[in-house]
């Protein structure tokens, strides 16, 4: 198992000169879990994107280590599974194609088709894996996001609104994933839901103004 750590020091993010949040610091070392809470618009999605290395910070920084060695953000991105309402797949490709094409780009090597099929089955998409994603419902797209996030057994799992659009079966599936991830890696959740927020050990709350 890879031991990954994420250390955030005084992260602040402004957009159009409006400060969304500031002075956010935390430290995570696998295995551990963190939940990001806050009202709508507090910046939960923004913070999760920052942790995943997709957006830069206005102030402060996020650093990552792998097995006690500092690693670059581009290296870190290979160890992340990311699920977010802002993530979209290619509508013209089938679920299987999306997984294969994207993981080919990500791992920079040929793909094991059977692994992709296996993960799609796990996510409950066996019936629809050869259908274009454009025909999927929101809930199925969410399942596909999980399939892609879990494909490479990520050391870090970042879930923004983990159960959005999901049916009861889906929510059970997410709970199972959450339990697994907490034991073997880092789990970061961003959610409004009090119950989901309780799934993690640590919490970071984003308020509109400090204090």
């Amino acid at each position: 198992m890879n031991r990954i750590s994420i250390t955030a020091v005084d992260i602040a993010k402004s957009f159009n000169y409006r400060t969304i949040f500031r002075d956010i610091s935390f430290s995570l070392l696998s295995p551990s879990s963190l939940t990001i809470t806050g009202k709508n618009g507090a910046g939960k999605s923004t913070l999760s994107k920052i942790i995943a290395g997709l957006i830069s910070t206005t102030k402060g920084s996020c650093s990552y280590t792998l097995n006690n060695k500092n690693i670059d953000i581009e290296v870190f991105k290979r160890y992340i599974g990311f699920v977010s309402p802002y993530l979209n797949f290619y509508d013209e490709f089938t679920a299987l194609e999306n997984i294969n094409i994207l993981s080919r780009i990500r791992t920079m090597s040929r793909q094991n088709e059977s692994r992709a099929e296996e993960i799609l089955n796990l996510a409950g998409l066996r019936q629809r894996r050869d259908d274009p994603v454009g025909t999927f419902s929101c809930g199925m797209k969410q399942r596909l996001k999980y399939a892609f996030a879990l494909l490479l057994n990520p050391a870090v799992l970042v879930l923004d609104e983990p159960t959005s659009s999901m049916d009861d079966e889906g929510i059970e599936f997410v709970r199972h994933i959450v339990r697994q991830q907490k034991k073997q890696g880092i789990l970061i959740l961003a959610t409004n839901n009090r119950k989901e927020a309780g799934w993690c050990d640590k919490e970071v709350h984003l308020g509109m103004k400090k204090g």
């Binding site: 957009f15 159009n16 000169y17 409006r18």
Partner: protein
Amino acid sequence: MNSLKVLSIILIAFTIFAGITVPMAPQPQSIFEFPDIPGLGETARIIFFHVPAAWVSVLGFLISLYFGFKYLRTKEYNYDIKSVSAAGLGMLFCVLAMVTGSLWAKFAWGSFWNWDPRETSIFILLLIYGAYFALRSALGSDEIRARLSAVYAILAGLTAPFFIFIMPRVIGGLHPGAEGDSSGSIPIAQLKMPLNMYIVFFTGLVGFTLLFIWLLNVRIRAVSVEHQLLIKDQ
């Protein structure tokens, strides 16, 4: 700053006065006479205003590039303010250069625009400025706007110099100093202007540059204040 403003006014005033009033004669007898270049005659006086305007428009672009680059490095919004202010003034002087240039062209060569190399280059500069502002107005967020317009400005700044290599070879021209012009390369560069014209010319050049710096300073302060007020409202 104040001394700069005063100096700028003095220099430009001198340029205007000397540029317009010093008489021209075929064989200059003293330093108070300009040579009468055949074919140009009195119209040559515009050189004191046209060339500095063109120079300042290029200077504006270079300064805008510099500040754009600094913005990309540091992400400090002040640099973007400076960059856009310089570009605005540069564009203004570009228009001035084109207008004075085409007036001169009308009197010296018969038509307002001829697509000769130097005319085309200043036109392209105007297009670059236009594109820069079009891009800026099409982008919403301050940060994205600053970032992308800086990148575009640098790209345009890198490709524009290719004109210097293309033009002389590809197209002959009417502009003094183009290929085929019997009077040879830029009179200024080869010091074919007599000393007295040279002095007036250079005072004009320096005066315009100082004027540009003055205007830039004022514009930067104005845009900064506007920006501060905008932030306060947030």
